[in-house]
């Protein structure tokens, strides 16, 4: 990956690619690296348990701030999805791999597959031009855990103060709330799974909590890639 590809300057903001590529000599480590060393995470696949926790590391997390109308136009043009129209909304693209989430009245969280966020950020910056906005790549600060299985809801009921029943957290809703004495962004992208966006430094703690809380049901923590 060349210098020109990994660094860019659009307008007066300097951006850089947080995925340096294989030839840069840096081995990326997922936030659950320590958990893996400690044997708390297994490779994907294996015996079916009642709850599956799958880590999705290295995704592109971007926080967009600014006016809803300006950002909506830009995001729709570059990503093909519109900003959620209501508070606590979560919108996914047709594939289901890119999402835009309402975080606060002037703040949205965009999650895209690994490596796409640098291009996306530059394209958004170019399109937004001189508008009043901010884009921050927060991918290094948080990670995403997927929770699925028939007992996943019961596990969450023990861990969060939020009402995770269908009427409290329907598909297409995402809330920031308390999870096991720490903060979490709890997302419901589809009927069969929940997503937890947790702080990178709390990832091991959250996994330990989930393993403990899920012991009675049987729980596996898997990582999609090392």
């Amino acid at each position: 990956m060349s210098e020109a590809r990994s660094e860019a300057s659009v307008g007066n903001a300097a951006t850089f690619d947080t995925h340096p590529g294989a030839d840069a000599g840096v081995t990326p480590e997922s936030p659950l690296q320590w958990s893996r060393v400690q044997g708390r995470v297994t490779e994907e696949g294996g015996a079916a348990e009642q709850i599956r926790v799958v880590e999705r590391p290295f995704l592109g997390h971007l926080v967009l701030r600014g006016g809803a109308i300006t950002l909506d136009e830009a995001v729709r043009a570059e990503l093909g999805v519109s900003l959620p129209g209501k508070p606590l909304g979560l919108v996914l693209d047709a594939e289901g791999s890119r999402s835009v989430q309402w975080v606060s009245p002037d703040e949205w969280l965009v999650i895209v597959p690994a490596g796409e966020e640098f291009e996306l950020e530059n394209r958004l910056r170019a399109r937004l031009g001189d508008a009043h906005f901010a884009i921050v790549n927060v991918g290094g600060g948080q990670t995403l855990l997927e929770l699925s299985g028939e007992k996943a809801r019961e596990l969450l009921m023990k861990s969060v103060t939020y009402d995770v029943h269908e009427h409290g957290l329907p598909v297409g809703k995402a809330v920031g709330t308390v999870f096991a004495k720490t903060s979490v962004v709890l997302r419901r992208p589809s009927e069969e799974r929940f997503e937890l966006v947790v702080r990178r430094s709390f990832a091991d703690y959250c996994v330990r909590w989930l393993r403990d809380a899920g012991r009675e049901y049987g729980l596996r923590v898997e990582s999609a890639s090392p």
């Binding site: 606060s104 103060t161 939020y162 809330v175 920031g176 308390v178």
Partner: protein, 129 residues
């Protein structure tokens, strides 16, 4: 435990997600250089401590992370209304009797706390001490 209506998230959340940030509607003197020490000291350090209706600033620190205002009764702990920054309260100490007649409502028209629901209204009535 309070059950607080966040005016930005537009729903009720547990108190655990919030943090109080002191008295609301404090106005910084427009020209700090020209005010007297007493006025500046009042602005910086002195806060109201009423018995009854109080307007407070809270932050939804684990949700949308926005500041907003709560009108609360310090004697009964009743939350009378929550409203966004920049808005004015509809219930103040001057018109406190309004809530006695109309009940205790939030901006969305719902009931704010369990203690404020009609079937529990007896619990809210002041008892002679």
């Amino acid at each position: 435990m309070f059950h607080i209506f966040c005016p930005y998230c537009q729903e009720y959340r547990e108190e655990e997600e919030f943090h109080p940030s002191g008295q609301a509607h404090l106005v910084r003197p427009a020209d700090p250089a020209s005010v007297s020490d007493e006025e500046w000291g009042d602005y910086l350090f002195f806060r109201d401590n009423p018995r009854g209706i109080h307007h407070e600033m809270w932050v939804h620190r684990l949700g949308c992370r926005k500041f907003f205002n709560i009108t609360r009764d310090t004697a009964t702990y009743e939350i009378l209304e929550t409203y966004r920054m920049g808005e004015q309260p509809s219930i103040t100490a001057a018109n406190a009797e309004v809530r006695r007649e109309q009940g205790v409502q939030t901006a969305d028209g719902g009931w704010q706390t369990v203690g404020a629901q009609p079937e529990n209204s007896r619990l809210n009535e002041e008892t002679p001490s």
